[in-house]
């Protein structure tokens, strides 16, 4: 006799099995089952689905599950049960009312998804780095999903960790001191945070004529892209500065694409491609097997041709406790058969994203 597990617990276990190299998830079966689960328990979602004539009885494919725009997270509590955590989007100009909230009823599912993907794409060699996060601590920003994820990474996948975004912004002196000490010891370091915080770090290094050479296997994980940047910084420029100021080669710099509304993330392919012997493959953002992304035409929401630009619509099974299909305000395109490239936010859409953590260090 098998014990009936709540769906989220069952999915958590399935993700962990898949992440350990076990049988692959049946994405479609899970997607259909999760939609029925959400339709039953998530009242605002059910209301909109019914208005559109979409019920579990007519959803046979994962592509049939109705998407939810990110704007809906600003208006409704889209959850299938009492939340264990509430994560809020960042945003500086439009005020708290325009910040979206992702209510997560099963943190274990988020944790399993986030850690499995991080391990796969950022630490594929199994190293346990000393982690320095250019972020506020969880005590200061309990509503940041990125901070929560990094806390799990630091506790579970690293040797030790610390936080370097304080009330007054990036704690440059303390950070440079710690980086210097680790560099001297030749420690493997994981340096992670918003791209904008790295730009501030580079500026500080330049101003102090400081050049670091972090230990072998050290790596960088940045997220947020141009959001919150005080000066223009291209991707190529970012990689160049990682080498110049930190001594971290471009293939060890992994860009993360995540959203508060999702429990899974995409990561730059560079490092995992290197470990898999695919050095010549183009840089692209890869996802774990439980996250799929459709690039859709804004008018029809139908798939655009491969490589064409459209709106990104994510289907994240790890969002089983809220809504799985999220239509973003980001433009992107597919790269190859397993990746995407994010072109940026639609011009004029509300600013949001973890890059803005720098601009609001005291909030939350």
């Amino acid at each position: 006799m098998t014990t009936a597990l709540p769906l989220e617990a069952e999915l958590t276990a399935a993700i962990e099995v898949t992440a350990r190299g076990g049988p692959a998830l049946d994405f479609e079966a899970w997607a259909v089952r999760i939609f029925a689960h959400q339709f039953e328990r998530n009242a605002p979602y059910r209301t909109v689905c019914e208005r559109r004539g979409v019920t579990p009885s007519v959803v046979a494919r994962w592509e049939d599950v109705p998407p939810v725009p990110t704007a809906a997270f600003r208006q409704h509590e889209l959850t299938c049960g009492p939340p264990e955590a509430i994560f809020r989007t960042s945003g500086t100009t439009a005020g708290p009312a325009t910040r979206g909230a992702h209510l997560v009823p099963h943190l274990d599912l988020y944790r399993a998804s986030a850690l499995a993907a991080f391990r796969e794409f950022v630490l594929p060699d199994g190293v346990r780095p000393s982690s320095l996060f250019l972020l506020p601590s969880p005590a200061r920003r309990p509503e940041s999903s990125l901070v929560r994820m990094c806390a799990w990474v630091g506790e579970t996948l690293g040797s030790r960790h610390d936080w370097f975004l304080g009330e007054g912004g990036l704690e440059t002196e303390r950070l440079l001191q710690q980086l210097g000490e680790r560099a001297e010891r030749g420690e493997t370091v994981l340096l992670a945070g918003p791209t904008a915080a790295f730009a501030d770090l580079f500026d500080a290094c330049r101003a102090r004529r400081r050049t670091l050479r972090l230990g072998p296997g050290s790596r960088v994980m940045d997220t947020g892209g141009a959001k919150g940047l005080r000066r223009p910084l291209s991707r190529a420029g970012f990689l160049r500065e990682c080498w110049t100021h930190l001594g971290v080669a471009g293939y060890s710099c992994v860009n993360e694409y995540g959203m508060t509304e999702l429990c899974s993330q995409r990561y730059d392919s560079a490092l995992v491609d290197r470990f898999r012997g695919r050095n010549l493959a183009p840089r692209r953002l890869l996802a774990p097997p439980w996250l799929r992304t459709r690039v859709v035409d804004p008018d029809t929401l139908e798939l655009v041709p491969p490589g064409a630009t459209g709106l990104l619509c994510h289907h994240d099974l790890a969002n089983a406790g809220s809504v799985s299909v999220v239509l973003t305000e980001d433009l992107g395109r597919t790269v190859g058969d397993d990746g995407i490239e994010v072109m940026g936010r639609v011009a004029g859409a509300l600013p949001r994203g973890c890059g803005l953590l720098l601009a609001e260090p005291g909030s939350g």
Binding site: P44, V48, V68, P69, A71, A72, Q75, H76, D297, P298, D299, L301, T309, G310, L311, L327, E329, L331, V346, A347, G348, A349
Partner: protein
């Protein structure tokens, strides 16, 4: 020879400098000429410019507008340079019988950097500068390098001496040498555009600086206006459609008084239907991917927002929104319709220093003026005329000639009837 329909070639800084110096010398030859001649020549040139078939043929592709739209816009731009209206402006700002006297002499050169969002911004820029007695150099925006040149040629045909005081220029942007020549020598630089562009250029201005940054507009319908709901809906639809809502005078919201003959929600539906019908006469240009994405974001976001209804069709997107806070829409031909208990509450809903124009249907405009002026509004006009600003429009609340001459006066808010 360059025809008016050809995009002008990029020149060197030395070439631009020489043309500006020549315009300054030409201006010195006109210092004793009465303004009546200038007024008459500008009006005649505008009439000829309006009929420029080459311009009408070439402008749609560079301005990304349908030919029908361009054909509708050219007369509206030209009508602002009406001789009587210009004479009245001169008299009101420069004093009684000022038209009969020579132009002022305190400003020798005005430089304009025009925005790219709407075409033909060069005409009022040139006209106002000529009326202050200055030579003028106009740097056109990317989406219309043609109108200024076409107007200068029209002016040269009727008044070569005055046309010699006008320099038209175009380059795609980011040309420091040319920008230096343009901005350093001018007594007054008038910059129009987005905040980053203004900030970058403002640092290089040698003389007095006048800026026109991004602004928004809206319409308001009183209960009495709803008695002619069809006419008013058509008027507002015209204001929305002209220039594809790219300009600062394009309404992004409509406030409709409750308790009239038509509920605000029904007015929203009528406006959506009118926009659909108007799209037959004034077709939308194919929207860009970003514009289509913005429309999707607006529709889907509104669909999930309590108290809203999305009324979208082939002519645009109307969102009926019970929340009265002003949240401008972004996609082409889109706007929110908000119910409002009384138009007197309107000023309190608006952000300060962001609204340029209010198009009114019904209600008492004069009762609204003091509060709207406080909020930075410069213009109240009848709905349907928002895209037909007269030369007297005190843009940014400044007197049009006074702003160039250095005495803009108290903040202005005009009422057009």
């Amino acid at each position: 020879m360059t025809t008016p329909a050809q995009v002008p070639e990029i020149e060197t800084g030395a070439g631009l400098h020489a043309r500006i110096e020549a315009a300054a010398r030409a201006r010195s030859r006109l210092v004793n000429r009465p303004l009546t001649g200038t007024v008459a020549s500008l009006a005649a040139a505008a009439t000829a410019w309006r009929e420029d078939t080459e311009l009408a043929r070439a402008l749609p592709s560079v301005a990304r507008l349908d030919p029908t739209m361009v054909a509708a816009l050219l007369p509206l731009v030209a009508e602002a340079l009406d001789a009587d209206a210009m004479a009245a402006l001169v008299e009101s700002e420069l004093g009684t019988r000022a038209s009969a006297r020579p132009a002022p002499t305190e400003v020798a050169l005005v430089a304009h950097v025009l925005a790219s969002n709407v075409p033909a911004l060069a005409l009022p820029a040139i006209a106002l500068s000529c009326l202050t007695g200055a030579a003028v150099v106009v740097k056109s925006g990317r989406d219309d390098p043609l109108s200024a040149l076409a107007f200068q040629r029209a002016l040269a045909a009727v008044d070569p001496d005055l046309a010699a005081t006008v320099v038209t220029a175009y380059w795609p942007g980011g040309a420091p040498e040319l920008e230096e020549v343009l901005l350093a020598r001018a007594d007054v630089a008038v910059l129009t555009g987005g905040e980053p562009a203004l900030a970058a250029l403002a640092r290089r201005v040698g003389g007095r600086l006048v800026t026109h940054g991004p602004r928004l507009s809206l319409a308001a319908v009183g209960r009495d206006g709803l008695e002619e709901a069809d006419r008013v809906a058509h008027a507002i639809a015209i204001d929305v459609a002209l220039y594809e809502q790219r300009g600062c005078l394009s309404p992004r919201a409509v406030y409709v008084e409750s308790g009239g003959g038509l509920p605000p929600r029904d007015f929203a539906e009528r406006l959506a239907a009118t926009l659909d019908g108007l799209a037959e006469r004034l077709p939308l240009v194919s929207p860009s991917l970003e514009e289509r994405a913005l429309a999707r974001i607006l529709r889907d976001g509104s669909d999930w927002t309590p108290g809203t209804a999305v009324l979208s069709g082939r002519g645009g997107t109307v969102v009926y929104d019970e929340d009265p806070s002003f949240r401008p829409t972004l996609p082409p031909r889109s706007l929110r319709v908000h119910p409002i208990a009384s138009l007197t509450a309107l000023p309190g809903l608006l952000p300060a220093a962001q609204i340029e124009c209010v198009g009114l249907a019904g209600g008492d405009p004069r009762a609204l003026v003091p509060a709207l002026r406080e909020h930075g509004v410069s213009r109240l006009c009848p709905a349907g005329r928002m895209q037909r600003p007269p030369l007297t429009w005190p843009r940014g609340q400044h007197a049009p000639l006074g702003a160039l001459l250095g005495h803009p006066g108290l903040p202005r808010c005009t009422v057009e009837t």
